[in-house]
């Protein structure tokens, strides 16, 4: 009897599960058991080795590479898009975090708008300071966040990424001479106070640049 036809049902199941072990979706217990059997089976090792070659080929597939030409094409189409502004649906689930963090957006609609307004406000102010005089395109209806006058000693509401420890956050804020007033609340937000001696716009910009803040907004 050949080696191929002698494969037992259990071995066949192992072969079927190999790709799921590789992509990390196999339950932990099953994964550990399978890894153990791979160690003892030359046949499984060879199949797993071959799967690695398949994975390598798919990972470096030129089709999956986004080129400058692709970006230009989609930007041209997006520029022609006319659509009434709407806000996306949001659940209360914390599952939104990874996507919004990845794409630099925000988990809660109100925060999203407020955060955007804050960022645009900083940008608009910087443009003003630099004397460029360029106003944002009128084709971008979202640019409704005109720069607010700089108010000293205001409270800010910040939401750090959930990967940032309280200690790290405290250190970060201390460097900006900013004190935590309260927090975190249920949404992970902190109230912080910018000292009167500091320029709030610059503090907000610096905090934004740290890359660890999901949102920064003024408290009305």
């Amino acid at each position: 009897m050949s080696k191929q036809t002698s494969t037992t049902k259990a071995e066949s199941m192992d072969v079927e599960r190999l790709p799921f072990l590789r992509n990390g979706t196999l339950p932990q217990e099953a994964a550990a058991a399978l890894e153990d059997r791979i160690e003892r089976s030359d046949e499984l090792q060879q199949i797993d080795r071959f799967d690695a070659h398949i994975a390598e080929a798919l990972e470096h597939d030129p089709v999956a590479k986004v080129t400058e030409e692709d970006i230009q094409r989609i930007q041209q189409r997006a520029a022609m898009l006319v659509r009434p502004a709407t806000e996306p649906k949001h659940s209360q689930s914390s599952a939104v975090g990874w996507l919004d963090w990845l794409t630099g957006s925000f988990a809660v609609p109100r925060l999203a708008v407020a955060g955007l307004v804050a960022v645009v406000g900083v940008q608009a102010t910087l443009l003003f300071w630099s004397g460029s005089g360029n106003s944002p395109s009128t084709e971008q209806p979202v640019y409704r966040g005109a720069a607010q006058p700089v108010l000293m000693g205001e409270l800010l509401r910040v939401v750090p990424a959930d990967t940032v420890s309280v200690l790290a956050l405290t250190d970060l804020l201390r460097k900006e001479s900013v004190a935590i007033v309260s927090g975190p609340d249920e949404s992970g937000a902190y109230l912080i106070r910018v000292p009167e001696t500091a320029n709030e716009q610059i503090v907000m910009q610096r905090l934004q640049e740290t890359g660890v803040m999901i949102s920064i907004e003024r408290v009305q």
Binding site: I54, E59, T103
Partner: protein, 182 residues
């Protein structure tokens, strides 16, 4: 970015495209087998997102949501071009044996040459098998997620993956032996 799109910031589409565009096109290409069609479907997918970002309800993975749209766009394209692909999948799982010598020969090749050879063989797979392979290996889908995406039982997913691996193995062996892979 979705919030920004929802607020009319069309430029927010660019970083989304940069991050996910490649995988979406790779998936579309696996279903359509034509780069031009895959490009069109990819762009249409992102334009759909730009027009209706609120469709994503944050209850699942964004990539899964994207792939669902891409799949529908691929089906639309099939319909438009009146292509009817008959997908055949044996119910029983294929058995496969990969010889160490095959892996050794593959390892001896330059990475680029090896990947190119593997991709040539993957490209020859039936669309459903290619799709299953891509979803499991590149997109990290679990078994049930693939079954949902392909509207089939888990057993069929296993079968498709096993057949895919078997066919790629045979194709690669023929190539390594210097024969034709047709």
């Amino acid at each position: 970015m979705l919030a920004q799109l929802g607020a009319g910031r069309n430029d927010a589409l660019t970083p989304l495209y940069q991050h996910y565009g490649g995988r979406v096109r790779q998936y579309a290409f696996s279903r359509l087998g034509n780069l031009e069609d895959a490009n069109e479907v990819t762009d249409d997918t992102f334009m759909f997102i730009a027009q209706a970002p609120e469709r994503f309800d944050y209850s699942g993975k964004f990539l899964t949501f994207l792939i669902g749209i891409t799949k529908n766009k691929c089906l639309d394209m099939h319909r438009r071009r009146e292509r009817h692909q008959k997908l055949s999948d044996a119910v029983s799982a294929a058995t496969v044996t990969v010889e160490a010598a095959t892996n050794d020969l593959l390892d001896a090749l330059e990475a680029e040459e090896r990947s190119s050879m593997m991709r040539d063989c993957i490209a020859k797979l039936p669309p459903s098998q290619k799709e299953a392979l891509l979803l499991v290996i590149n997109f990290g889908y679990a078994m049930q997620e693939i079954a949902d995406a392909q509207d089939c039982p888990q057993g069929t997913v296993k079968s498709r993956l096993a057949h895919a691996r078997q066919k790629v193995t045979e194709c690669v062996k023929r190539k390594l032996e210097g024969g034709t892979d047709e």
